[in-house]
């Protein structure tokens, strides 16, 4: 870095789209001097990357602006008003065109055939059906340590406890799954388990052998987690390559 660096080079993609030369960027005559060997290879590599980036920018119609933010009034408020109007209008439209069904009043004297919680609690309802996992301990003479229903409630505590623990195990500094494949795999496993355990909770409604469903409930999530881990792991090299390419294009090594 030279001392007389009074004007900061603009390298955020604004302007002509061509990275402005600063004192670290070789001049064109300097580049032409690199005519052989490793320096030639390096020059071609970065020149090609720069050229690709320039072509992409030339064919893009996206305009970058040198604006840090917009004032709340009127810009942000108009945007918020537009979004609010859109969703309120959607609700009005749907409620006018598809008026909600009003069923007969509830009959407190009869019990419905199917009793289920709301769909978003199926996973918790499924955890209550883990009876086959409750071990019969030989130390207790073949007795179970706790009743199956207690076991199901404890399973809820275990799952909620694990979810509460995850932020302490990994703060989540990755901005994309490909940056931390292991934790992405853990996440995929958790999401898959939420769906499979929800399917288990309605096992009497599914056209499927319930023992097979019980096995699949615990087999599918690790398999999906492993698959996503390997896929992200395989993507990582290419991702790091393009990331590094972008970085060194803006700050070419001397």
């Amino acid at each position: 870095m030279a001392e007389d660096n009074d004007s900061e080079p603009i390298a955020d993609g604004s302007g002509t789209g061509i990275v402005a030369p600063d004192d670290e960027t070789p001049t064109w005559s300097e580049r032409k001097e690199r005519t052989q060997g490793l320096s030639r290879l390096t020059y071609e590599y970065f020149e090609r990357a720069r050229r690709e980036d320039q072509d992409l920018r030339m064919e893009s119609d996206y305009v970058e602006r040198d604006v840090l933010g917009f004032p709340a009034w009127p810009h942000e408020m108009i945007r918020n008003f537009a979004l609010t109007s859109f969703f309120v209008g959607l609700i009005l439209f749907l409620s006018a065109t598809l008026p909600p069904h009003i069923g007969p009043p509830a009959d407190p004297s009869t019990t419905p055939e199917i009793i289920l919680p709301d769909w978003y609690l199926y996973w918790s309802f499924g955890l209550l059906k883990l009876g086959p996992l409750n071990p019969e301990l030989s130390i207790l003479g073949g007795e179970k340590l706790m009743a199956d229903r207690t076991y199901g409630v404890v399973a809820n505590i275990v799952v909620v406890g694990f979810i509460a623990m995850v932020p302490f195990l990994n703060k989540g500094s990755a901005r994309r799954p490909v940056e931390q494949p292991f934790w992405a795999g853990i996440g995929v496993m958790g999401v898959a388990f939420a769906f499979t355990i929800a399917a288990l909770s309605v096992k009497n409604l599914l056209p499927m052998d319930s023992h097979l469903l019980f096995d699949l409930t615990f087999l599918i999530p690790p398999v999906l987690g492993l698959i996503s881990y390997t896929v992200f792991r395989a993507m990582q090299e290419g991702y790091m390559y393009s990331l590094n390419r972008r970085y060194y294009r803006l700050r070419p090594p001397k």
Binding site: D61, L90, F93, L94, T97, L98, H101
Partner: protein, 85 residues
Amino acid sequence: MADEFMKGLAIATASGLIWIVLAGWYNTPGFEETQLLGADPADPSALEAIALIVKEGLFWFMILGALTFWVVLPAAREARARLAN
């Protein structure tokens, strides 16, 4: 590229919205019965017949329109760029 995605998404959501309304009107025998995918009304009036045709058209427009902007046009552009090189 983002514009192409937005066009496809707008086609899919807008035609899907109209489709769901028409299907709710003409292909939903009841709340507790088949929803949106019920049988067409027997002996439809002229208005109902037009609405059923529009519904069918919108259904395919939803699928083909989104596919066009998300798959066909980018693939064609990619292929043209490959051929040009």
